[in-house]
Structure formats: structure tokens, C-alpha cells
Symmetry: C2
Subunit: 333 residues, 2 copies
């Protein structure tokens, strides 16, 4: 296992120590490093919280900051944080306007966030939830509730974060986050495995010339494993599945996220985006906002995902708004 | 070779097509995709140009934008661009105030930039040059002119870019870039090889449990190859070499860049920074500005580098200034 670490058991906490040293804009609740919150809670604003396992940086905690999220509960690598940690984050960020949870559709996270919401309610804090399920590969159309949340959750954070920063009330922030959820689709492809520090070996094996279309960000099985195809053919197959269940019309606008899973060079992500751009142009769909880089990783996994958000006027306004977090800055205009 | 690509021979140009589609803030000179320039040249300002081989994204071209560079000549993977391409970039960005070249200390680049500077002079454009040589591992003290330029060149871009944006004249921008150069030191460590697309196999082999301290970003030999040590011990060894040839005093400030070489997860870079931070604190040196992520990569190479810039008042002002490029945003304050 080739990793820069000291003790596998302290991997997450040492990472967090580094994050707090590097980024004074975030801090933790009490002495629990795993309850990460913005250092300057804004009064009156709807609070936005997320959470989930570690190993996906900059997801989840990296998007806590101005114009995005207010707090994140941080789990072990690929493990859900506890309901208590989520509750501590919730209580810290609540300013009386309520709190919206946005997180990925994984059973452990759902159980814990549900429990945290109940406990928060007992303390008089109104909580709403939007559960990201953008991964097209993880179930058929009609069973979207079974789909995993992957990189496209970035668009939910961005839209809801901008809405909350505008001062919109909880129900409206929730409506907009849910609208972004409904209009986001992601397809991924993996070329290599990740290594969980406490396990110390590859999570799965994959042949030297193979790719797995639709693999999840923890190594969950995808749709098909086959010989690695040329980049354009890989993109064509991924985009075909996204196009099949969206209703883009000529003249429509989308936001595009080409996300690296950890081990894939940035150069290759741009080669993938080149083809995405060609396919959108062929349908006269405009890529109005484009982000390319690592947004939701799976440690050192080689691979990529493509997320599309179908914009309308209000989502475009929110996606375009400025943001300033330790791991993501966006200068409007 | 597990890469997202179509034809290895078109790797760089397809990457560039993706970059131009994604980032309308940059464009190319005439029909040569490899002459990348800002889409909005600012009149009267000193022009800043860089260049070098591909395979290091976001270095070099990623830092063309507001508050940083104006143009970059783009070579093949790990190959110098031509003098003609550098000249075309120079002519495009020159606004009568002269042009400063900032690039890494590699013989091919030096030959071509020297020739471009001579040709520019014949056309009445004043050119100055600052050649980055921050890599401590590549020669002994006293022979710094033999040192390679690696990730620390980011600080030269940032300082010179801010100085040019302030409207300072060519000699002053050059002085500040050179001051940043003199005060920047980098140490790197590699855990795995990169794969050049047109070659198709690993550039070098390294054992499953080995690291190479001081390896260059093209796989140039380092100082020592040994068994991978715990993260803190790796950082201690790297920082010891940096401390040995700097004169930080208690109360001094530095800017820190912990750079991933391509294949190393962001989580691990924060574990490295945690130790960097401890060592600086032990000397009462403040990490005033911190960037952690991928800034100068070597394709999919696993590994990291640590760069330190010894700040003074004027360098701090320039490093803190805002910047907005396709691959790097910095919101001041």
C-alpha cells in the first residue's frame, strides 16, 4: 500500500488536523474534529449541512464556506458519521431559520441523518432533507430512489448554498435543492481500484486493459466491465445513458462537471470534456457552466464521471453565484 | 496503459480543444492551439509568458488569467514548445511595456526561450527572463543554477502576475519575480511512475514499498531511494533539506504549497501538510498562505512536493492579491 500516512487508524483525524491548520475559515464543534463547520456562522440564514464518509475529498467537507454549506459531519473512510455528530453540526449552524441536510443516498447516512433530524426536532430545530441520487448507473428509470449519490451532489450544494446566501426561507431553499436533484444526472467509469487505509489492499481487482462503466465511488459494481475503449467511445456510451433519460431541447443550457476519481490526470479529463462538448453541440445544448477537476473522489481510484445539470433560469442564477470555500472558489461573472 | 485517450499522437491537441471549449477566458494565437493566451489582453500592462512541456496540469498553461500570466507556449508531453510558438505568444501579449518570461530550468526550454527573446528584440519587444530553479534536490548549494524548476514556480507566477496587474514596469516586475525565485525552495518525493502517452509504459520502475526522495517531475533521478517511511518521517526529511538552506527566523512568514504529483489522494496531502505545519510552528514561523492540491503534476505519478516561499512585506502583498484563471482562483482577504 503506497500511501503517505502514519497510522491507518488515524488517517481521517490527521487529515482533519491538516485541514484545520490550512483553512482557518473552517473549525470544529467542541473538541470533535469530525464536526466541521464554518468559522463564521451567518445569523438568520438557513443552515446547510452535509456529511458522509471520508475518502472523497473535496466531497463532502470541502464545500463548507461562503455561498455553499455551513457544516459537515465527517465519517471514517467510506463510513457514515454518527447521528450525534450530525446533530452537533446541526445545533451549531442553526440560526433559527432551520437546517437543510443534503447528502448522498446511502443507507447508513440515511439512518443517521434521519435520527439527527428527529433529535433536532426535539430541540426545536426544523430540519428538511434532500438526498442526492444522481448516479444513473445504479438503478433503472422508475427506481431512481435506489440510485446512489455521487459527484452531481456538487450542483445541489451550489444551488442550495446560493439560495440560502440570498436569504431565502427553508422551504424555498429545499425546493431549489430538490429541483437541482431532479435535474442532475451522473455516469461514471472506473479504471482502477482504491485502497482503504485500514484495509491496506485494493478494494477490487480489474484487468490491466479493463474499465467498468457505472462503478460507484466506493467500488460498487457498475453496469458492464469491458476492454478500455478510446476516450470518445467511452464518453459516447456514458452520455447516451444520460441523454436517454433527460429531455434537453435545442437551445437549452446545462452545467457540466467532469470529475476525476483521484488517480486520473487532469489532461485526460479535458479529453473527455472535449467529446462531451461535441455531443452537446450536436444537440444545440449549451454548456453554460463547466467545471473540470476532482470534486468527488474515491481515494486513488483512476476513472472519471460526467454530471449534467439541466439549467433553467433560477438554477442558472444560483449556479452562477459566487462561492468561496477552502476547496472551491467561484468568482461570478 | 490505462488512459482516457483516443490517439496518443493527438493527446495534447485534444486536451487543448477541451480546454478552449471549457474556458472561454483563454484562446489561441491564430490557428495554433499550442499558443495559449488570455482572451482579453490588458493594454499597457507588462506581459507575462511561460511555456514548457505538457503533462503537468495545471502547470503551465493553467495560470493564464487575471492577476497571473498572459500567455503560455504549450509543448508535447514533457517536450519544449518551439521558439516560434514562444515568439507568437510574445507578440500577441506585448502591449508596449515589454514581456517577462518565467519558466523552468530545462535546457530545451532555455534554448527556445532565448531564441524567442532574440527574435522579439528584433521586432522591438523588450523581453526579460526569470528561470525557476526551486528544486533543492537537483544540485548542491552553490550550484543552484543547475537546479530544475518544479512546483514552486507557482509562487513566481503569483508574485509577478500581481505586480504586473498593479501596473508596475518591466524591471520592477522582473525584480519581484526574481526575488520570489530566490526565496522559493521545493522538495519532492515520488511513489510511482508516470506514463507518457506516446511511449505507453512506465517511465521508470520503483518497488512496491519504495519511495524516491527528490525525483523530478519528468522522473529525473532523485537523491535517495528507500523504503516508504511514515508520512511524518518523509516530511521531516524533506523539510530538513529546505530548512538547511533557508534562514527563517522566529516570527517570519512563509507561503506553503503542498503539491500532488497526479495520483496521490488529496487526503494524503493534508496529512503531509499537518506535519509541515508542526515543523513551522516549532520554529515560530507562520504559514501565512497555504495551498494544497495539484499545481504541477507528472501525469498519474503518485507523490508530492513541498514548496516554501519566504515572505517579506512586498511578496506577501503580491501573494495575497486576487487572481482568476481557469485553473486557479484566489479571492483576496
Amino acid at each position: 500500500m503506497k500511501k503517505f500516512l502514519n497510522d491507518p487508524g488515524s488517517f481521517v483525524d490527521e487529515m482533519l488536523e491538516g485541514i484545520y491548520k490550512a483553512h482557518p475559515a473552517v473549525t470544529h464543534v467542541g473538541d470533535d474534529l469530525r464536526c466541521l463547520v464554518t468559522a463564521k456562522v451567518k445569523s438568520g440564514k438557513v443552515g446547510l449541512a452535509t456529511g458522509g464518509g471520508s475518502g472523497h475529498l473535496p466531497t463532502f467537507l470541502g464545500f463548507v464556506g461562503d455561498g455553499m454549506l455551513d457544516g459537515a459531519a465527517v465519517g471514517g473512510v467510506f463510513q457514515s458519521p454518527s447521528a450525534e455528530q450530525m446533530l452537533d453540526v446541526t445545533k451549531h449552524i442553526d440560526q433559527g431559520a432551520g437546517v437543510l441536510y443534503i447528502y448522498g443516498n446511502y443507507s447508513g447516512d440515511i439512518i443517521n441523518f434521519d435520527m439527527a433530524a428527529e433529535l433536532a426536532d426535539l430541540e426545536g430545530i426544523t430540519v428538511r432533507q434532500v438526498v442526492g441520487n444522481d448516479d444513473v448507473a445504479s438503478s433503472i428509470v422508475g427506481e431512481e430512489h435506489k440510485r446512489r449519490g455521487v459527484a452531481g451532489i456538487f450542483f445541489l450544494y451550489k444551488a442550495a448554498g446560493a439560495a440560502a446566501a440570498e436569504g431565502l426561507p427553508l422551504d424555498e431553499v429545499t425546493r431549489l435543492a430538490d429541483k437541482a436533484r431532479q435535474r442532475t444526472r451522473t455516469m461514471g467509469v472506473a479504471l482502477s481500484s482504491c485502497v482503504v487505509p485500514e484495509i491496506g489492499h485494493a478494494t477490487f481487482s480489474i484487468g490491466e486493459d479493463e474499465m467498468e462503466i457505472g462503478m460507484g465511488i466506493h467500488g460498487e459494481p457498475g453496469i458492464s466491465r469491458k476492454t478500455l475503449a478510446p476516450a470518445d467511445a467511452v464518453v459516447d456510451e456514458m452520455m447516451e445513458r444520460i441523454f436517454a433519460e433527460t429531455d434537453y431541447q435545442a437551445g437549452d443550457e446545462v452545467a457540466v462537471l467532469v470529475n476525476g476519481l483521484g488517480g486520473t490526470p487532469l489532461e485526460e479529463l479535458y479529453i473527455l470534456f472535449r467529446r462531451v462538448s461535441q455531443l452537446l453541440e450536436a444537440r444545440s445544448v449549451t454548456a453554460k457552466h463547466v467545471w473540470i477537476g476532482e470534486f468527488a473522489t474515491s481515494m486513488e481510484m483512476a476513472g472519471a464521471s460526467i454530471s449534467l445539470l439541466h439549467l433553467d433560469a433560477e438554477l442558472e442564477r444560483l449556479i452562477a453565484a459566487p462561492a468561496d470555500t477552502p476547496f472551491f472558489q467561484h468568482i461570478a461573472g
